[in-house]
């Protein structure tokens, strides 16, 4: 085990950390280090984000005019299918858990790695295999079912490439399940001494809640997609009405997973925002236990509301009412979080650095997204709005305005820790503003379009909808520019030789007490935790100037070595 003795000066490249501890492609592709696995995920989820983004660009280009002039109908249908599949299954679902969670979870609880490092690596390979298979199937073939794969279109009326794509998603499901099992066990069994449940950062609580959803929900989509694939290939008849099957059964099974899936996507983001706000307001999160439990409440309630995607299918009136009622209930723990984050700023010491820009943006945009969800929970309104652009706007607000902003907040917050480099704050703020405005211009008009009645997945549309569509595409251009700037300065930061110290933000948390980037085994000695979470009212643990030796820490350190 490499020893990280003195904290050397920042420019001392002889210090061994997880990035330079070993070289060569094998050391990365066969790594068992959770931090390297996090980086592997970072790279690949970004690739899928770009793929999904390219398809989004083509979609918005086509929608500039009411006619079909960029692509033909069949191609357009494949575009939105691929956009959805890539973004949901291969970017949003892994993003915070697999990238930030993998990197930070063990460190935040004071552990050296996750409970099952080999399974962690396997999880990445499942992700890679599934993602590759699905992408290839969709690009080469004719998958135009939409990411929702509704039967009987996907099972009886569609090409052979559909089961291939479904298999890709199926394999990817194992990635989620294994990550969930890993995280759950890690949080239960590997917390450092003194790290009680209520001293955990809220990021860990969020990952924990997400892991529960991943474990319980993903197998249901697995079996559902498997059955659709079997039906497509063997014609077995479970969802085929001509053989006595029920296409609506598919919807029930599909949404039973896919609704909790959206909570897999957003709850980790909630965790990131909690940690970021606590740091940049320099205060403990107001109502810590309420925020912690609200994550669990959302995870549980999330399994009970799937029918709100099916109000217009002809399901029983009573079922619809029950689902509507439960969907309204979920609004409450979510609102609680927002109020608590706002209250955290009260009498705080607020500093607006880039992660905080994203966090503030998150609260505003997620709020709008969540509130529009209430419109869709109201059955009478949903009947009008179902399958229109209102729904599209709603979920982009929560997923992009919410989740992506939270992801970017986390990425910028922990970037110095992960890479050991600092990015240009000026350009970061430019990008954040561009993204914020671009996003709003893209999706706010879509609410109007939806209420007007423009349906989803439409390739051509009535002329009177054009002005709003043009606004939306203009916004998308600005959004794309924002992302371009983001990629540029983040990648450049890796080469600009601006080293970061262990705690550039003066934040609290075990991850800020180790060097940036961390050593291969995170901690030289197992920390013993005595401070509460977000103990911002106490003295700083590490001094503000990077590189100075660790002194006068109120958290005593255990002197002896830990077990291997």
């Amino acid at each position: 085990m490499t020893t990280d003795t003195a904290i050397t000066t920042p420019t001392d490249s002889r210090r061994v950390h997880y990035l330079n501890a070993s070289y060569g492609i094998k050391s990365w592709l066969l790594t068992l280090d959770h931090k390297r696995i996090g980086i592997l995920y970072l790279v690949m989820t970004t690739v899928f984000f770009i793929i999904g983004g390219v398809f989004a660009t083509l979609i918005r280009l086509e929608l500039l005019t009411p006619q079909a002039d960029v692509v033909e109908a069949a191609t357009y249908n494949k575009l939105f299918t691929m956009h959805g599949v890539a973004m949901i299954f291969f970017f949003l679902i892994p993003a915070v858990p697999a990238v930030l969670g993998n990197f930070l979870l063990p460190i935040q609880i004071g552990a050296r790695d996750v409970a099952f490092p080999k399974i962690n690596l396997l999880s990445w390979y499942c992700f890679m295999a599934g993602g590759t298979l699905a992408t290839v199937a969709i690009i080469m073939g004719g998958v135009d079912t939409g990411w929702t794969f509704y039967t009987p279109y996907s099972s009886t009326y569609s090409s052979f490439y559909v089961p291939l794509a479904l298999t890709g998603v199926f394999i990817n499901g194992f990635s989620s399940i294994l990550t969930g099992v890993n995280f759950l066990t890690t949080v239960h069994k590997m917390r450092a001494p003194g790290m009680t449940w209520f001293r955990l950062p809220l990021f860990v609580w969020a990952q924990y809640a997400t892991s529960i959803i991943m474990i319980l929900g993903t197998p249901v989509i697995a079996i559902t997609l498997l059955l659709v694939a079997l039906e497509n290939v063997f014609g077995i008849g479970i969802f085929n009405p001509d053989l006595g099957g029920d296409p609506i059964l598919f919807q029930h099974m599909f949404w039973f997973y896919s609704h909790p899936a959206v909570y897999i996507m957003i709850v980790p983001g909630f965790g990131v925002i909690s940690d970021v706000i606590a740091c940049f307001a320099r205060k403990r999160i107001y109502g810590y236990s309420f925020v912690a439990f609200s994550s669990l409440a959302i995870a549980l309630l999330g399994f009970l509301v799937w029918g709100h995607h099916m109000f217009t299918t002809g399901q029983s009136m009573y079922a619809s009412m029950v689902f509507s009622f439960l969907s309204f209930l979920i609004a409450v723990p979510t609102a609680v979080k927002i109020f608590n984050w706002t209250a955290t700023l009260y009498k705080g010491s607020v500093s607006m650095e880039c992660p905080m820009y994203y966090a503030m943006g998150f609260i505003g945009l997620f709020l709008i997204g969540g509130l529009t969800g209430l419109f869709l929970s109201t059955i009478a309104i949903d009947i009008h709005l179902h399958d229109t652009y209102f729904v599209v706007a709603h979920f982009h607000f929560v997923m992009v305005g919410g989740m992506v902003m939270a992801y970017l907040a986390g990425l910028h917050f922990w970037w110095p820790k992960i890479t050991g480099c600092t990015y240009s704050e000026g350009w970061a703020k430019v990008s954040a503003v561009l993204i914020f405005f671009g996003f709003n211009l893209t999706f706010l008009p879509q609410f109007v379009l939806g209420y007007l009645g423009m349906p989803r997945r439409y390739h051509v549309y009535p002329e009177e909808f054009q002005v709003l569509n043009v606004m939306s595409t203009a916004g998308a251009t600005i959004l794309a520019a924002g992302y371009a700037v983001l990629f540029t300065y983040l990648i450049l930061s890796l080469f600009m030789n601006r080293r970061a110290g262990p705690n550039p933000w003066r934040a609290k948390g075990l991850e800020w007490e180790i060097p940036s980037p961390p050593g291969p085994h995170n901690f030289d000695v197992t920390p013993i935790v005595t401070a509460e979470a977000y103990a911002y009212d106490e003295e700083d643990v590490t001094p503000a100037t990077p590189g100075a030796p660790d002194e006068g820490s109120p958290i005593p350190r255990e002197a002896e070595r830990t077990e291997a």
Partner: protein, 193 residues
Amino acid sequence: MGMWAFIAQEIMFFGGLFAGYTVYRYKYLAAFTEGSNHLPIELGALNTAILIGSSFTMAMAVRSAQVGEKGPLLRWILATMALGIAFLGVKSIEYADKYHHNLVPGLSFEGSGQLKIFFSFYFAMTGMHALHMIIGLGIMLWMIPKIRRGTYTREYFSPVENFGLYWHFVDIVWIFLFPLLYLIGRDPWMTIM
């Protein structure tokens, strides 16, 4: 603990199939009853006995691991494998028989759409179950060299224990499958084909 979490998700996986089966059984009671009557109850019962036996041998294997007895551990694992293979053998006889009677959806099927749905579930559920058993056999095969090398001791036998959990789970799934598919709604006096 990780294994319990994994088992939880397996329950959800099979749960989806069970839920679908329940829905269709309610809808098409007549066809599903007919389907059940097509299934050979004596082979199903034999398989149930085999699997329960294999859970017994598995439990004995775990015990051997706990007390650090390498020889018995190896023997009990081999016994479990043998019983698992026997189960799969009986299953293949069943499957072949279905094929001869043109009851395999997708390959050769004669019958109403609703009967096809029954058999789709039959093959999906028992097929998934068999797949999990094959994986279990694979894991046991992989464990054999480790046992011979003495990897598992009194201090470190959790892989054996965890695998035992997995194997018992697979057994329990069958214990639910057997009545659901073979038994309920069955005409007790009907001779098996």
